[in-house]
Amino acid sequence: MTDATHQHQADPKIAPRSLSDGAFAWMLITPAIIFIVVIVAWPLVETVRLSFTDARLGGENYVGLANYQELAESRKFQQTISRTFFWMFLSVGIKLVLGLIGATLLNAAVPGKALFRVLVMPPWVIPIAIGMIGWLWLYNGAFGLLSGVMQYVGIVDKPFEFLAYKRSAFYSAIVADVWVGTPMVTLFLLAAMQGVSRDLYEAAWVDGAGRWYRFRRITIPQIMPVIVSMALLSAIWTFNSFEIIWILTEGGPRSATTTLIVDTYKTAIANFKFGEGAARAVVIVFLLATFSLIYLFFLNKVNKHYGVK
């Protein structure tokens, strides 16, 4: 389309425009650029600078790489990194599987799917902080529904506090994170499925291909590019998922749910160690950027494989 505009610009029949494409475009994007520079880019530069200092409430001194060195030597921090990646892979994996199942159900030609589509969305629509109040209560041992049902059925014989033990707290937080993230994944995969040409299915159907075969050999390959890009977006959000963990457990018990973003917040905001917090923030950005680049390289290959430009 941009080519078309260019040709016309050269066309003498059209009145010459006062601005060139480039100048006009930059005029249009300048307000957006200003916002991003002031609110995101500049603070990012500032974060990098702070990461070389020991900034606290009182003041700051340049300390070189001391903050990073401390992180590199800290076993706890290494555990936090691996915990964060584990958190991300597990949660995104579940979201993708559930999203794929949800989208397939929504794509099925059955009565009532419009209602189903509306009812699946609320976790995405409401503020995370409010959804988490519901989960907090669900996970409560003495008064919550889950523990109540488990006692009733006989899985446990006394109230079970989901958020009090390291393992159960971690997996409970994963479930809540999956709850928040699944609707969006479902929605995007559904859209992708609706974009697949019906002719493909009909041709396969005429040839006697069953439903499962059509799903595996037509649906999945056709929507693969969307699955792959959705996975990256979801991975970034999950990696940075803060409110869910903060409201449910504040990173506890005994750091069991402390991911990098929680650790950064705790260090910088709760303990006022701005410099050390900034170094953690830089590590997050570095890890995410590296992960994304590797992933995009992989995405490129997948797209080529499936013939998408």
Binding site: R17, V40, P43, A289
Partner: protein, 280 residues
């Protein structure tokens, strides 16, 4: 035909839908049930599924326990509306530029916008605090509006761009031929055609703005009168006792505005949100 299901398959589909919905709706159900229980029955152990004294008392008491509750709900809607308006004003021209024009550093600047998605506010809180302090915005509505806008701009551009690309370019060319200026063409030719897309992107941004207030509110705003609902809810956690039933009632009441908007616009929203995804 191809789309017909056997009875067994139908049962399977509905059963799977039911399980899915139970998972999604469980927290809402739990919040609703808790909001109906009198406070003293909330803390009854062992767990009771049914109490015979369910009532809507909490829905009227909550306004007295937290007198500013109405204000908090208003603030949430107000902040989200302000963020949406400002974001749209900034995103519309930018998305148009990326959809239609060719210019130096086009892909580099677009990549920069999309890269913003990689940072959440939580990473940048400390310097952001200083920036907002320098701008004199701390403890005002702006403290929640300005960062809100910045973090929604990339999504807005991404969504609206793919929408604008679908509008036939011929109409704009016709306007140019008739001697219309670029700005006039954007305002009078492109925007009217893009109204469905603008509604979709506006709704998505409103939902995002409604959802993301918590972190900015607790970090950048100490003024109680300006607090949005998610932050204000924590006032139910009092010094003496936590009125959980009222907190649940308030939470459910507070999401009504955004749920109503979603219900009205969900049909367009689903179609429009996904336009970008399908294309790529």
């Amino acid at each position: 035909m191809m789309d017909r299901y056997t009875k067994l398959q139908m049962v399977g589909i509905y059963a799977a839908m039911a399980v899915f919905l139970i998972f999604i709706l469980l927290p809402f159900f739990e919040m609703f049930m808790a909001s109906l229980r009198p406070l003293e029955h909330l803390f009854r152990s062992p767990y009771q599924f049914w109490s015979d004294d369910f009532s809507f008392q909490a829905y009227s008491d909550m306004w007295e326990t937290v007198p500013l509750l109405g204000r908090y709900i208003f603030n949430s809607v107000f902040i989200a509306s302000a963020v949406t308006s400002i974001t749209m004003l900034i995103v519309i021209p930018a998305a148009y530029a990326y959809a239609r024009l060719d210019f130096p550093f086009k892909s580099a600047s677009l990549a920069m916008f999309l890269g913003v998605n990689m940072f959440t506010g939580a990473v940048l809180l400390i310097p952001l605090y200083r920036v907002l302090s320098t701008l004199g915005m701390l403890n005002t509505y702006w403290a929640m509006i300005v960062p809100g806008v910045a973090f929604l701009i990339p999504t807005g551009i991404w969504l609206l761009r793919s929408y604008l690309e679908k509008i036939p370019v011929e109409l704009e060319e016709a306007a140019y031929v008739d001697g219309a200026s670029r700005m006039y063409t954007l305002r009078r030719v492109v925007l009217p055609l893009a109204v469905p897309g603008l509604i979709v992107v506006g709704t998505a941004i409103f939902i995002g703005a409604y959802a993301q207030q918590f972190l900015f509110a607790i970090t950048f705003n100490q003024t109680r009168e300006y607090q949005p609902l998610p932050a204000g809810l924590f006032e139910f956690i009092g010094y003496q006792s936590v009125t959980w039933n009222q907190m649940m009632a308030a939470a459910l009441t507070g999401v009504l505005p955004v749920m109503v908007i979603f219900l009205f616009l969900q049909k367009y929203l689903v179609a429009g949100l996904t336009a970008g995804a399908v294309k790529e």
